[in-house]
């Protein structure tokens, strides 16, 4: 029972990370129709930026987090402007290939600047709480709380502010949004900034728990893709729910079946579901 609860707790923690990363990806994929395959690598860069500002510059964890979010938001804007906007009218697959170029670039950048060895961000909250037989680190709890707070904030932003509603308008009908005078390019840039910033939040929250490495973005980015496709392109509730479900499946599957093959579950589920329903569980018809 205690093992089960512990695995569930870990699953929710991983799920929180997956949910935030998938949320950022679903915004870009659903709204701009851009398969930003480099999203996982933005997440990786977010972790390294936290390291740079928080540890190398010595600003401490929380200021490091804020600077990492701001910087990565800017990186997102640059990426939209210089990689994806020129590819707007080309076949879809070209944007995907450009994304692979971008991810190779980002991974090499991390490798060149910070080296291949893992880096550790010191844990700002190393305290541990015992509850129902579970061992709960405060930082892990913070990941879960932070994810909930971020999701709430994003929801309020999308529903209550004009900026948020313009994003939704572009998602529903690009031409219609243009006709009502919405600057679609600006909305694209903003969506990318938000998407990248959420990835930075996810990375900053979890990096005191795990090591940073240049390769950490690749698998996570793929998982985010799996979640977005299964949860439905552009569906925010789908991404959140999918993230938590995947986290739980992995934690329980990894704990009870096989730790080495835990990644296989997620990718296997994707192949299975797409082979039955080629446009994803809640997908739009043609993408």
């Amino acid at each position: 029972m205690e093992l089960f609860l512990q695995q569930v707790f870990n699953g929710i923690m991983f799920g929180s990370t997956y949910a935030i990363v998938a949320l950022g990806l679903t915004l870009v994929m659903g709204i701009l129709n851009i398969p930003n395959f480099a999203h996982g690598h933005l997440y990786m860069l977010g972790g390294y930026l936290l390291y740079y500002f928080g540890v190398t510059m010595g600003l401490g964890y929380w200021f490091g987090l804020i600077f990492s979010v701001i910087c990565l938001g800017l990186v997102g804007v640059l990426m939209e402007r210089f990689i994806y906007r020129p590819l707007n009218n080309q076949p879809h697959i070209n944007a995907f290939i450009a994304a692979i170029g971008a991810l190779l670039f980002l991974e090499a950048l991390a490798l060149v600047v910070w080296g291949p060895q893992g880096l550790r961000v010191p844990n700002p909250h190393p305290q541990i709480v015992h509850f129902l037989g579970m061992t709960i680190g405060i930082q892990r709890l913070l990941v879960i709380m932070g994810a909930v707070a971020l999701i709430m904030a994003l929801h309020l932003f999308m529903k209550k502010t004009i900026m948020g509603t313009t994003i939704e308008a572009v998602a529903q009908n690009r031409e219609g949004a243009m006709l009502t005078g919405i600057n679609v390019n600006r909305v694209s840039a903003m969506t990318f900034a938000i998407s990248a910033a959420t990835a930075a939040v996810a990375a900053s929250l979890i990096s005191p728990i795990f090591m940073l490495s240049p390769a950490m973005g690749a698998i996570l980015g793929m998982k985010a893709f799996v979640i977005v496709i299964l949860g439905g392109m552009g569906s925010i509730p789908g991404a959140i729910l999918g993230g938590y479900i995947l986290g739980l499946i992995e934690a329980l599957g990894g704990g009870y079946i096989s730790a080495a093959y835990k990644d296989v579950f997620a990718f296997g589920a994707l192949i299975l579901i797409l082979s039955i329903k080629p446009t994803g569980l809640f997908g739009k018809r043609e993408v």
Binding site: P91, A98, T279
Partner: protein
């Protein structure tokens, strides 16, 4: 389209002679090994070009099928089966698995297909790293025997203990691949591939079965990828999960895009030029991938046809300027 002008033919003949005479003017064993590897990669990238360039389906499982061929040959030759039997068997296994992967995944389109195939590639990579009894885990398989000698009546047996015969073996395989792909691409089937790529509903309307067309192309591409992987295993003498990993696929993709998609010579140019450029840029270390990542983005935005396509455009412009 079908016949090349004389100067192009002369260029091809010169390249062929240069390739045949290569062992005499490249004395450095290390460079020679890189060139031999480039031949193998050129075979794999040409096959990737069939499914991505000509059929328009971005299969990112190509490295995985290359790996299936490599592991197939490694496991079978270690079990005592002759290389000449193991190679086609491994390629057939790759094609067979490709058929069963293509059956569900080709129902998806565009980036969905890319992601499904990539997921398959990652699963295979994880399995290769963890199924220790079969694949040797992360260490891989060492000491794969070289191809056994071929008995030739008059000359005596051709043996494969040195680099030179292995080079000619790879060269022969590449020439055969290009020949087969050329016949394929310029056949009615090749035209239907391009029809599916350019406009799937229209191709469907004129009586082409898009699904079957894509599936056949996928299976052929994977067969050739398996063949290339099998030769890779026999020439290198060892395989590890990285031979089946997604980085392999991404490398192939770089060779293909920079060389030129949907041209027969593009993949060969890419697979040769880029590993050799990478070697000369050895002093840059990790900066190389920084450059190639940025280059991939730049080329796909401004020259989606790659080096060979760009050269063609230039050629046409020169021809138009001459006519004026």
């Amino acid at each position: 389209m079908f016949t090349k002008p004389v100067h192009t033919r002369l260029l091809y003949a010169a390249i062929l002679i240069a390739a045949l005479a290569l062992p005499w003017y490249v004395p450095d064993a290390y460079i020679f090994q890189i060139v031999t590897m480039s031949l193998i990669f050129a075979i794999a990238v040409s096959a990737m070009n069939l499914i991505i360039g000509f059929t328009g389906q971005a299969s990112l499982a190509h490295g995985a099928f290359f790996g299936i061929g490599a592991y197939g040959v490694a496991i079978m030759t270690k079990a005592g089966i002759s290389f000449w039997l193991a190679l086609p068997a491994a390629a057939l296994i790759a094609a067979f698995i490709g058929f069963f992967v293509g059956l569900p995944s080709l129902r998806t389109r565009g980036s969905y297909f890319a992601i499904v195939t990539l997921c398959f590639g990652v699963i295979l990579w994880i399995v290769a790293g963890n199924w220790i009894e079969l694949t040797g885990g992360h260490n891989g398989i060492f000491g794969i025997p070289r191809p056994s000698p071929i008995p030739v009546p008059v000359v005596g047996p051709i043996e494969f203990f040195t680099q030179t015969p292995l080079y000619y073996l790879a060269l022969a395989a590449l020439l055969l691949t290009i020949f087969v792909l050329r016949r394929l691409v310029f056949s009615v089937f090749g035209l239907s591939l391009m029809a599916v790529r350019n406009n799937e509903p229209l191709a469907d309307a004129v009586g082409i079965n898009p699904f079957a067309t894509k599936l056949i192309s996928f299976v052929i591409a994977n067969f050739i990828a398996g063949l290339a992987g099998g030769m890779y295993a026999a020439i290198i003498g060892a395989v590890s999960p990285s031979a089946a990993g997604y980085m392999m696929t991404f490398n192939f993709l770089i060779y293909l895009i920079l060389g030129g998609m949907a041209t027969l010579s593009g993949p060969v140019v890419g697979a040769f030029a880029i590993p050799i450029i990478m070697e000369f840029m050895q002093f840059l270390g990790d900066f190389r991938m920084l450059i190639f990542g940025a280059l991939l983005v730049f080329v796909i935005i401004y020259f989606p046809q790659g080096f060979v396509g760009g050269l063609r455009q230039l050629n046409q412009k020169v021809a138009a300027w001459r006519q004026q």
